[in-house]
Symmetry: C2
Subunit: 193 residues, 2 copies
DNA sequence: AAATATAAACAACATGTGTAGTTTACTAGT
DNA sequence: ACTAGTAAACTACACATGTTGTTTATATTT
């Protein structure tokens, strides 16, 4: 968890950096405007003012671009709160739940038309990050962590997703207050280590 | 939950029934052989010995077919164990966890190459069924059920998915013994109603 | 500044998906 | 048995995706 920069960003020629940035910002703009499903590679290329084929020098497909964009954004949120530099505690768990809720609510707002294949992909990306973070938090534990961490990962994501889909939302703080015990219950043993 | 037959299957002309059946069995066969991503609509049509365009009279796309196939199979498993005809109890919860584990393990075995876009779709389909079943089980409860049911849905699916991905698997019974308390802990209050 | 390396543009092409209209074959009703 | 309705085959087409090879433009090295 020490370095969030990917291979994608190391020692890049300035042209490639520029192009990648154009692709990313165009994608984000079109996502907001049209929704994931309606955005084509040609749309992205037009908006970024690059040749369509150039897209494939950077990303294998639209899904790879989504993964990159979402991961980058989420890791940024994790790092902003220093969640990657701490251990398990109820307070850190609460912050993580809150972060995921905020993130998903923001995605829900920003994406014009949630589509069948968009949300599951976002889920996969975020759950992987949550899972790695929990594994990191619990690394020193002498107790078996695998199943509790698995359940916690899915529960956190499930709750946050539920929150993001609510038509009438309670305040985030209120929601997290109710959600927290449902997750924390399976992680209690790790708080007293 | 009383009727699992969909609109798709009511008052169908025999030709359409035949064609649908051909599509479904061809799909299942190709899924096993090539994996979801590698199967094209033309492949399915060839295997089923129908015209490719005819496919679209029945399913909007490959994903719609997957949803139909997986839902049908899963509902069949639920009905086999009469899980749709009971209420919440720890024993029924245990059976549900076991059923989902078995189902996902079988999918994992049957599908030649799990692909990025396949598993998330399966997940969406199965979670929806779990969620509806839990809602049905807890319908008479006077306590708030929404968040505990949400967490339980995701936890059940998460555990079953985890089990299906294990390279070295414990026995299913053993796994369910360990998994059960992690799910049941949030549903205890409903068992004593 | 010139030479070399590399990213991006360009052109051409193959493949799969999805739509629309017409004709043929099968089913249901009389 | 005949008629009307409907499912499937057929044809043609548009569109998006992804690959390949060549040329042009930009960045780095000498």
């Amino acid at each position: 968890m020490s370095s969030s920069l990917t291979v994608l960003e190391e020692k890049l020629d300035p042209r490639a950096k520029r192009t990648r940035h154009l692709i990313l910002t165009s994608f984000q703009s079109l996502l907001t405007e049209k929704g994931f499903d309606a955005v084509s590679i040609q749309d992205i290329a037009n908006h970024a003012e690059i040749n369509r084929v150039t897209f494939y020098a950077h990303f294998s497909d639209k899904y790879a671009l989504l993964e990159y964009a979402v991961r980058k954004a989420f890791i940024s949120e994790i790092e902003k709160r220093k969640l990657d530099l701490c251990n398990y505690s109820p307070e850190n768990l609460r912050t993580m739940i809150l972060t995921v809720c905020e993130f998903l609510a923001s995605i829900h707002t920003k994406c014009a038309q949630p589509h069948q294949q968009f949300e599951p992909l976002v889920e996969g990306i975020i759950k992987k990050q949550i899972s790695e973070l929990l594994a990191h938090w619990l690394i020193k534990s002498k107790l078996p962590t695998e199943l509790p961490a698995t359940v916690a990962t899915w529960a956190i994501y499930g709750l946050a997703f539920h929150y993001s889909q609510l038509k009438i939302r309670p305040t985030l703080e209120q929601f997290v207050e109710e959600a927290f015990p449902l997750v924390a219950v399976n992680l209690e043993q790790f708080a007293s280590e």
